[in-house]
């Protein structure tokens, strides 16, 4: 009984924490899509023509994940999307580090100061991914 309670509270903390984080991370990017497009450009992974459309859509996907986790609706789908998008972010950051790019991460805000791509960012994203997978597993085991 105690174990179930611990999981119950941990799940709420993880869900609300990740929800807040994703909603917060999306705000700057939604307001300034041009700046975010420039951040994506610096990763040198996408064709130039697609930079703006990615900068328009990706922040809204983050916001959608954040809002649904905060509100406690579509949790399984949101956790799945969160895990998928976080894997994508991890790959992008590692690829930038591997190519020696000293660029703004664009992870949580568009402020260049102190947010350059680094292994610290990768570790943060791995924790976020772990949170997303935890929510998915909890939700599935609850349904069985």
């Amino acid at each position: 009984m105690k174990r179930i309670d611990a999981h119950f509270y941990l799940r709420i903390v993880v869900r609300l924490g990740l929800g807040f984080l994703f909603l917060y991370a999306s705000l700057d990017k939604i307001i300034y899509p041009g700046k975010f497009a420039e951040v994506i450009y610096n990763y040198r992974l996408l064709p130039v023509e697609l930079l703006n459309i990615c900068a328009i859509i990706v922040p809204w996907i983050e916001a959608f994940i954040g809002i649904s986790l905060l509100m406690g609706i579509w949790i399984e789908m949101s956790a799945f999307m969160l895990s998928g998008i976080t894997v994508f972010f991890i790959v992008m950051i590692i690829s930038a580090i591997a190519r020696g790019l000293d660029i703004e991460c664009g992870c949580f805000s568009l402020d260049a100061e102190g947010s350059l791509v680094s292994w610290k960012r990768v570790i943060e994203d791995v924790f976020i991914l772990a949170g997303g997978i935890y929510l998915l597993i909890c939700h599935n085991s609850e349904k069985r």
Binding site: I30, I31, Y32, P33, G34, K35, A37, E38, Y41, N42, R44, V48, E49, L50, L51, N52, I53, A55, I56, I57, P59, W60, I61, F64, W74, E76, M77, F80, M81, G84, R99, G100, L101, D102, A112, N140
Partner: protein
Amino acid sequence: MDISRRTISILKQSVLAVFVVSIFAVIFNGLSPNSVPLITPYRIVTVGDNLTKIPVFQTRDQMRTYEIKNNLHPPEEIDLETAYKHFRNYTAIFIDTRSVEDYRSGHISRAVSIPLEALDFSREVLPELSRNERIIAYCDGEDCSQSIDLAVRLSEIGFNDVYFFFGGWTEWQNAGYPAGIGDIP
């Protein structure tokens, strides 16, 4: 329900959600004061035999307000603040006239590397650029003159909105303005 069916079901829901969110995002972008074009506009710059696409990250408002003007004048010096204003508003192309090695180790963000010696003035120079495009050439700072040389040469062959930023990379770096490292793809 087994795990694989469940995963496919979540995947389908996620794709649908991404589709709906994308439509909403595009509509929101259309209504936002900081709206940007869906397809990123870009300029093509030719250096030697290579074509380089330089994206223009202007908002729709900036594109309307800062149209490139047809001002006919010989190259002029431009100061740091004016150069930065043009940088911020995407109203000029910055050309780094230093060596490729210097460019790689640090340059004005979004600048194109065109060392003076790389341009072949016996052929058409920068054919993809309009002769009315605003160009700001720079080099290391007050100890170098390639920026002036390039500005003058471009002016001579018909570019009519050319400037040289004499303070160059040194002054830009000291001011802490946006910088880039490495090659432009």
